[in-house]
Symmetry: C2
Subunit: 564 residues, 2 copies
């Protein structure tokens, strides 16, 4: 089944729900963008997703990546698709125009990312890591580095990788052992081995720019002794041409549950030459720069795959005849059975609210980065910090549930590879794990973002929503959202209070708290969409409020059971 | 990591929780069995699981089944393992001693099944289907058929398959098209094609006995025009020797998400010779005979895989050092982190309650089949009918969640194939789909078992529990269970009432109702286990009551939202 780019639904968010052009009024960098442009870009992105990415998605899963003599070959068609991707400018959407980027808002880019993840998650990862490397260099590289690497990373002609994880250092990067020693010429020599490196080696770009975390000889132990280095696969000569091969090589690729067309590499450095990015021992801080954007991107993987699974399940439920409907039709299409409706509605509930949160969060990242209004930037920074772990973890937890439901709609046909429904489940599963496991996201939310600042971020979040609720007419749903916000405030305060006597409390309830907060956020967003849709979304919104939102009761009780 | 057969936990259920020997007092067929025997059999089953089945589980997944020229080759080692399985008598545990079976209780067999599913789900399926065919023939075959086929099916020397599904007839078997026309000699000639036939063809047994659903020429349309036929792969001569090859052949095998070592076949019949089992047009009724047993068995797949995933996750959480614990230890084993404890506790909550329900339900199946007390049989029939859809659907839904959590504990290592955690997820996923999707189970529970008999089955279920609660000392948990039983009764009555005006209601709330009922059943079983354990299970039981059972609040609210 061909993917149908949901451009109308997306433009509804851009134009009617979040009114991006109004929201960005006063931001000089976006002054020339309007809804026509946004719509046109989304149309083109939809064509690229359907015409270029989807056709090589299942074949990419079947074929996978291959490693021979240190060379990784991507599946058939990937190299050509990547070439079109670069030529189409899809890597440079949000990047800095000073280095060849298009400077468009993240709030738009999240929608493009969704379409690409829908149609070929494995493919997207190469570009996602390149974007991460770009952002890090942009923020922490010196001017010479930026000039040398950024234009080719931004165009996608070169790709990037983030070399963080080691066999004994995953969630806890403080344990990493890779060593960097300074050479006479100011460069560094790196020794060590990294695992789970997405896009660490492949055949699609002419160079790969690795950002590597390592320890200097005088480094303190733990997370405060980690530095960041740029380690290109091929040296780049001063004239910009490709030079000699560097001693960073792929020793193995992982055999994984899914995203098989994405190369996941063991990268060995044997005297690889690198250059320090940012100050010594500040590597983890450098990583934090790109974290919000990368985590949002990985979250969107969950929405994209959920949407693809939903479209296929809807199509199948329309066509597959099975059983007797309550109106007597037999055999009736699956969609006439109430339990199948529940499944499709649940999927849509998650996808639409997730997409809205992606745009909302994207808009705060844009304000934080582009606005010149100091107060607005400060608020946007807080909102981004608060919403990012929610988006990453809940998009992907809900995405996995959604893909699993979509597979269930297909019955036995969902379990065989032919229909592609099981690939979505396998491809989605990793998004709950990498870029900080969803457990780590939950700890980030409740530890750093709630308890550590004694509810300050939560208050900003609540104020933003409450201010917006003033613009929405009174309704049952509005009343429900208001009550939930009060519940969230009270429960959060109890957790903060409890944490001073019981340091375990955050760990014990972290995941439930993240899901609880996410569902309340989704309720606000469904209300906001319903209100902007003039009645056309009432039924779908009601389903969410009746059937999905009910989960907050269990989550709240579960959290309260751990409070004294 | 080697599987640790949980024989002590199992014998705790057999001896202390359900007191099987007391429960079966008065059943002549079980008079000679005692706890020593049960314990010895479980010990042996554990050895077989660890020594024979587990070593070929991951290799079986990697290798898969292969089809060439109509011959299916199972992965290396499967044929030898099957031979040991037959020689060990593992196929014949519950079968009729008159035909070579051991006549042991199902309540014991469920525990053996769990161990085997834990260590090699693909392997188990061959025997599970053979058991289904055996039960059907035992109940509906004529004496000649029984003598001809049962001894070799019961020993496992021959295997069985159930040929139901066709491309356009899955959940709705009434749509099937395979035709059977009578031959002069009283046999039938079958034409048609079946899909998703587990064990339809393989190289482990010398003959395969297919039970095939087909239509006679004069058959009424729909489900009331389906007859059941026995169609052997090789004809069986009157002296019991193997005769000529029958015209039922494997045309293709499916490429699936998991259970790759289980052959899932397209079976084509081109004038295949068969014999009618049971009366004409009563094929679906014949299938119902074996349905409870088969559904329970498939449910246990969820518990078995959940247990294996739990053991591995626990082991990993003990050994993997990562992050700082709240007591300051760094790096600390994962198990010291509260969020990891939540994950492990959730897994154990589901596994232990599921295992208890399997034994409880198994004991009712035993009473229904073996007791000579008419009232006891009647009650046991109702309890089996009520509990079976709950067991099948909830064991597997919770099993999938459990395997997913286990994978999450491993972080990135859970996503790569090497550690085996992702295989459990893939292998478990099918159990929510086949043997009646979990949606079908939920409709069975709320439609046939609740609404159609106006709550009669529910009342028997409630009375059984209430009678047992009288034997349990008062406690907070007991009080909670009592309240939940009242809630369940009231909510069920509302659904029954509503259904007379709103025939959609069952479909709309079916899945939530099944989960709601299952969790309340688990609460009763946790209470019962806690009470039998003299304090040693209090902490684990409390976790279930505090953190997992809280979900009933959301489920209840979701159901109520659809009631007028």
């Amino acid at each position: 089944m061909q993917y149908q780019a949901p451009v109308d639904d997306m433009m509804f968010l851009v134009k009617d729900v979040f009114k991006l052009t109004d929201r960005f009024a006063g931001i000089a960098d976006f002054a020339e963008f309007d809804n026509d442009l946004y719509g046109a870009i989304l149309e083109e992105a939809g064509k690229f997703a359907t015409g270029v990415l989807q056709p090589i998605n299942r074949s990419g899963d079947e074929e996978g990546c291959r490693l021979q003599d240190g060379v990784v070959t991507t599946p058939e068609g990937f190299k050509e698709a990547y070439q079109s991707y670069v030529e189409g400018g899809w890597q440079s959407i949000t990047a800095d125009p000073n280095y060849g980027g298009q400077g468009l808002p993240k709030a738009l880019h999240v929608l493009i990312e969704e379409m690409f993840y829908s149609t070929n998650t494995s493919f997207c990862l190469y570009g996602s890591l390149t974007a991460g490397a770009t952002q890090l260099l942009q923020a922490h590289g010196d001017e010479q580095m930026k000039e040398k690497y950024l234009p080719n990373l931004i165009s996608g002609q070169w790709s990037g990788s983030m070399c963080l994880t080691e066999a004994h250092a995953g969630s806890d990067l403080g344990l990493l052992k890779t060593k960097a020693t300074e050479n006479d010429d100011g460069s560094y020599s790196l020794e060590g081995s990294k695992i789970f490196i997405t896009g660490g080696e492949h055949d699609m770009a002419e160079n790969i720019i690795h950002l590597v975390l390592a320890r200097l000889p005088d480094a303190p132990e733990g997370p405060k002794g980690i530095s960041c280095f740029i380690v290109p696969k091929f040296m780049v000569n001063d004239d910009g041409s490709i030079g000699e091969r560097n001693a960073i090589r792929c020793g193995a690729i992982e055999h994984k549950m899914g995203i098989k067309a994405s190369s996941t590499c063991v990268m060995n450095m044997d005297g690889a030459k690198g250059w320090l990015v940012g100050p010594p021992h500040q590597g983890l801080r450098c990583m934090f720069t790109m974290m919000n954007l990368e985590r949002l991107s990985i979250g969107i993987q969950g929405i994209g795959l959920g949407e693809m699974s939903f479209q296929q399940a809807t199509n199948y439920a329309n066509e597959r005849l099975q059983g007797r409907a309550t109106d007597g039709e037999a055999p009736a299409p699956l969609k006439k059975h109430g339990d199948v409706q529940r499944m499709l509605n649940t999927m849509e509930s998650f996808n639409k609210a997730g997409r809205a949160l992606a745009v909302w969060l994207g808009s705060y990242l844009d304000i934080a980065f582009h606005s010149e209004d100091g107060d607005a930037v400060k608020k946007a920074d807080i909102m981004s910090a608060w919403l990012t772990p929610i988006a990453k973890a809940y998009f992907t937890d809900a995405g996995y549930e959604t893909c699993t439901i979509g597979q269930q709609v297909f019955g036995g046909h969902g379990y065989v590879r032919e229909w592609g429904m099981e690939q979505h489940v396998r491809d989605c599963r990793i998004a709950q794990i990498y870029e900080g496991t969803n457990g780590i996201q939950a700890l980030d939310l409740i530890g750093r973002k709630l308890i550590a600042n004694k509810g300050e971020f939560l208050n900003v979040f609540l104020s933003e929503i409450k201010a917006d609720l003033n613009r929405i007419d009174s309704s049952d749903h509005k009343h429900q959202v208001e009550e939930l916000l009060t519940d969230l405030e009270e429960l959060s305060q109890k957790i903060i209070n409890e944490s001073s006597n019981n340091p375990e409390i955050g760990q014990l309830v972290a995941c439930d708290y993240l899901h609880y907060t996410a569902l309340i956020t989704y309720a606000y967003l469904w209300l906001k969409m319903e209100s902007a849709a003039n009645g056309t979304l009432d039924e779908k919104s009601s389903f969410f409020f009746k059937r999905v939102l009910a989960r907050v009761l269990g989550l709240k009780a579960s959290i309260e059971s751990e409070l004294s």
